[in-house]
């Protein structure tokens, strides 16, 4: 569609007042700098995970498995803060399924408990168990999985049969390989995979320890290379940064789209409220590791730090600059105060979930039917996220940028059809 330059004039004039001038280009540059730092931190922590995984495979031990788990948990801290970049930036959204797809039918990858069930109406490959099967048939063709390679995971197994729950790659596949299924239901405790699942010879438990190690190695290597690719898109000259800077209004709109879509539909709805309403411990975002409280917390923090324009890196240094907050404050100071207040309220609520979980009240327990305290904690987070979305919509209106998102709409990709 066409935008007439005439309509741009009032907004441009309003922002031209020298004392309050906040250049959109500066806001976008800082947003891209923060993305570059967050993805670079994600690469660094994933490489540490890779080192720990290599050590586990070379010399399997209980300690080596714990080290790998600790590295995985640390790697989630910067990555979850990048999720706010997903929905506004097509290049991130199109790629994201490779590294953070969830929920998964983990029986595709490795052995599962009998209570998991068999193939379902939705997914014929829910219990394929690639670790145990070097050959199998997938959608009519024979697959040779004698060697478990990044290419096999990425090209053949991931989203096999067109089913999104067939997650073969990314953080959650690795999480399952490190922790195993969480069989504690609503009780405390994470998955409890024995380190001997990676042991050599007769000490091997769960069968096929070498193939399991191959799978863990391949999926970790793939995670590192996928993250490296994304980090490169955000540096100077990278495609994600270039697309963002192409049109300043569209860029500002992308920031807000990412904040609002993650706050409302994704985090408040799909990840938090739904699990609570279903009372289902499998509706936990980091369910194998029992790390869901952190997953939610750092998602929320990512939304807040994008608005405020400041990110604290994993080495303690800060990346900051012109922010959306500055821009809103220059247009409507009261609205900026409202927005900042709402984001802080959400972080308080998500912090309560995190601190309760760290003190022993597991997220699984919070989800249990009739657990009033858990429900109040989770709904506190949901309400904060829903409430901040209303303010994000007000910011959209105040800045005069309107994000309209159509996913995969043919007629929009073909502009003629709009005016049929």
């Amino acid at each position: 569609m066409k935008t007439t330059p005439m309509f741009l004039a009032p907004l441009a004039l309003a922002l031209a007042t020298p004392a309050f001038a906040v250049e959109k280009a500066d806001v976008l540059t800082n947003y891209a700098n923060i993305a570059a730092a967050k993805y670079a931190d994600s690469v660094t922590t994933a490489q540490r995970l890779q080192t720990a995984v290599d050590a586990l495979i070379a010399n399997p031990s209980a300690e080596a498995l714990e080290d790998a788990k600790a590295a995985w948990l640390a790697s989630r801290v910067p990555y979850q803060q990048t999720e706010v970049y997903r929905f506004g930036n097509a290049i991130v959204d199109d790629w994201e399924g490779k590294v953070n797809a969830w929920p998964l039918d983990e029986g595709l990858i490795d052995y599962v408990d009998g209570s998991y069930g068999g193939p379902s109406d939705e997914n014929a490959f829910a219990v394929l168990n690639v670790v145990a099967n070097p050959n199998f048939t997938l959608s009519g063709s024979e697959v040779d999985a004698a060697e478990i390679t990044p290419a096999l995971l990425e090209e053949t197994l991931h989203e096999a049969d067109g089913i999104e729950a067939n997650v073969a790659t990314g953080y959650h596949a690795i999480e399952f390989l490190l922790w195993g299924q969480d069989l504690n239901g609503h009780g405390p405790g994470a998955g409890n995979r024995p380190w001997t699942d990676y042991a050599a010879g007769d000490a091997c438990t769960g069968g096929n320890c070498d193939r399991r190690a191959d799978y863990l190695k391949a999926s970790t290597d793939l995670l590192v290379s996928d993250l490296e690719w994304m980090a490169a898109q955000w540096i100077d000259g990278g495609a994600a940064r270039a697309t963002l800077m192409e049109n300043e209004d569209a860029g500002i709109s992308a920031i807000l789209t990412g904040m609002g879509s993650l706050s409302y539909g994704e985090q408040a709805g799909e990840r938090m409220r739904l699990g609570l309403m279903l009372n289902d411990p499998e509706e936990e975002h980091d369910c194998f590791a029992d790390n869901t409280h952190n997953s939610h917390y750092y998602d929320g923090l990512g939304i807040q730090n994008v608005y405020l324009g400041e990110y604290i890196r994993i080495d303690g240094t800060s990346v900051s600059g012109a922010s959306l907050a500055d821009m809103v404050a220059a247009t409507d100071a009261a609205l900026d105060a409202e927005m900042q207040g709402k984001l802080s309220t959400t972080m308080m609520a998500l912090g309560r979930i995190k601190s309760a979980a760290e003190a022993g009240f597991a997220y699984d327990q919070m989800l249990e039917q009739g657990n009033a305290g858990g429900e109040a904690l989770i709904m506190g987070g949901v309400n904060g996220l829903v409430d901040q979305t209303r303010s994000i919509e007000r910011v959209v209106a105040a800045l005069g940028v309107d994000a309209i998102e159509f996913e995969g709409s043919d007629s929009l990709d073909n502009p003629e059809a709009v005016f049929e």
């Binding site: 379902s120 209004d249 539909g265 994704e266 309403m277 994000i392 309107d402 994000a403 998102e405 929009l412």
Partner: protein, 331 residues
């Protein structure tokens, strides 16, 4: 994914508040009154007989019709206390509903003794979709104890009626006024915010019908997914599309009341989509793998998409509101 930039119109229509009032009086309140009434009839019918078939099926269909007709109005009283989810949890991609029901039946769980206690169970075991399994799915015809199944049917209908009544009461006695009279203490500060809420309901309703009601069973050409059709067990899949289009049409035309050119365009596109729907002779979308049927269902989806275009690109800018964020954002 595509991002499109539009500028919010600088001059909102002066008649926004009037149009909100008429939407509340003619679209929202009558819709929730019908839901309260038909769900009460459903509860009463189940109290007399829990045998599969009529008269229970007739009462079930009438009440489900009433819900689909208002199901796009997911804000305010509809969203409180998980009410909308408690009436209709779908899509259910992990099969939570049959699992939850089987567990209740296997344990003859006493939580089903009253609607009050039942309000605590997972949303997957509540509402019209849970009831559909009990009334239509062969696997639940003789599972567990017959008396317990009967009690479950009676309790689920009572829970549906209670939730519907609460929504109707809150709309009537509280929320209608909030929508009509925006103020600093209301959820809506200005008439434009109230209009945006209604506009979002229209847009989200169309998106849900296009992406879920039609898109899920369509799947891809190579991999059609007839088993993912909404309410296929009671053969209501196509009916839901028709009911939602009819209801969304009345909302759209009312929102466009002061923009006759856009109103006419929307009227044409809705009429066309409803026409196309009438020619799809496949109530449960079982035939999405059959090329002859599939092409009709695809045509229906295109017709709904063309309404979405007009809503997003014509109506939104004219009303001075954006589509904002909704529950379908995300993955």
């Amino acid at each position: 994914m595509r991002l499109i930039l539009a500028l919010v119109a600088l001059l909102p229509l002066p008649a926004l508040a009037d149009s909100t009032r008429s939407i509340v009086d003619e679209h929202i309140l009558p819709g929730f009154a019908a839901l309260a009434e038909t769900t009460q009839t459903l509860q009463n019918t189940a109290a007399e007989t829990c045998t599969r078939g009529d008269p229970l099926n007739t009462a079930y269909n009438a009440a489900f019709d009433a819900w689909i007709t208002v199901s796009h109005l997911r804000f305010g009283p509809t969203e409180q206390e998980d009410r909308a989810f408690a009436l209709a949890f779908w899509p259910d991609s992990r099969g939570a509903t049959p699992k939850a029901l089987s567990r209740l039946i296997a344990n003859a769980d006493p939580v089903a003794e009253t609607a009050d206690t039942y309000a605590e169970v997972s949303i997957a075991a509540r509402g019209f979709f849970a009831l559909e399994f009990l009334l239509y799915d062969a696997a639940f015809a003789d599972q567990g104890d017959a008396d317990y199944r009967c009690q479950l049917i009676q309790t689920i209908t009572a829970d549906i009626a209670a939730v519907s009544d609460a929504m109707q009461q809150d709309w009537q006695n509280d929320y209608a006024a909030k929508l009509i009279e925006p103020s600093a203490d209301s959820p809506y500060r200005t008439p434009a915010e109230a209009t945006q809420e209604l506009f979002k309901a229209l847009n989200t309703g169309l998106q849900f019908t296009s992406e879920n009601r039609l898109g899920r069973p369509l799947g891809t050409f190579d991999k059609p997914r007839p088993n993912r059709a909404e309410a296929r067990r009671s053969a209501r899949s196509l009916r839901h599309v028709e009911l939602s289009l009819t209801s969304l049409k009345s909302l759209a035309l009312a929102l466009a009341a002061d923009a006759p050119d856009i109103q006419e365009k929307l009227d044409q596109r809705f009429t066309k989509a409803i026409d196309v729907a009438a020619r799809v002779d496949d109530p449960s979308f079982a035939g999405v793998a059959d090329p002859g049927t599939r092409i009709k269902v695809e045509a229906l989806q295109s017709a709904v998409e063309s309404i979405r275009q007009a809503v997003a690109l014509d109506l939104g800018p004219r009303l001075g509101v954006s589509v904002g964020f909704n529950a379908l954002d995300g993955d």
